[in-house]
Amino acid sequence: MTLMRWTPARELPTLPSEVWSMQREINRMFDNFFRGNAGEEALQMPSWDPAVDVAENDDAYVVKVELPGVNRNDVKIVVQDRQLTIRGEKKQEKDAREANYHRIERSYGAFQRTFTLPSGVKSDKIEAAYTDGILAVTLPKAEEARAKEIEVRVK
């Protein structure tokens, strides 16, 4: 078993990633459109899904999330019932909120991504670092989950 994205629309798992990114793009356009007309409340709604890369090696899983312009204190990483949730909020800067906007394409507001963890993750040893707009969460594998090399003698 491997680290799984939690996707509410699990019945469509075979769609190529372009479809998902297109869906994200369309969602973003809708978000932007409605944010333009709605009041403060619209800003409170979970409004975007940051893009994620997941990779593994012998020692760990690494989840990288694109979070440009997010304050690290506004990010929460929670592990519960073998689910890893990364959530937070991207706030607009104060002087920008008063300003006259010509174009808003960047995502603001609450975001959340959830992953189901494989067994054999040392959940007490999870570490996270935020650099240059990327949050990297490292999930070390427990001893028994690591790939072992077994030599088989051919007779």
Partner: protein, 126 residues
Amino acid sequence: MEKSIDVRDQQTNSDTAYDRCRIPAADVYETSDAFVLMLDLPGVVKEGISLIHEKGELKVRAVAAAGQPSDMKVLVREVRPATYSRTFTLGDGIDTESIDARFDSGVLTVKLLKSAASRSREITIN
């Protein structure tokens, strides 16, 4: 009033890695004395950004640092490995001598001061 920053998203011929180019999301807002341009460039280091002002255009190009180290096996890939590229056309109302740029947490912020003539100012009534 004429809009003083316009965006040109067409790829130029010089973008050889056409399909690898990613157009970074941009916000443009106007204050009383400046236009502010904010671009999302996650995964880029400051040294990887080139910002060129030339012939009334502001060209931003950036290269994201290498993705996963080679010993990593990729399980999910949503982040496109990227060269970012975008060009903005600057109008007349900008003082091109004083363009200020800073990069923090994956966001490039470019402040373009308005030329004295195009600033809004309140006029005192005598």
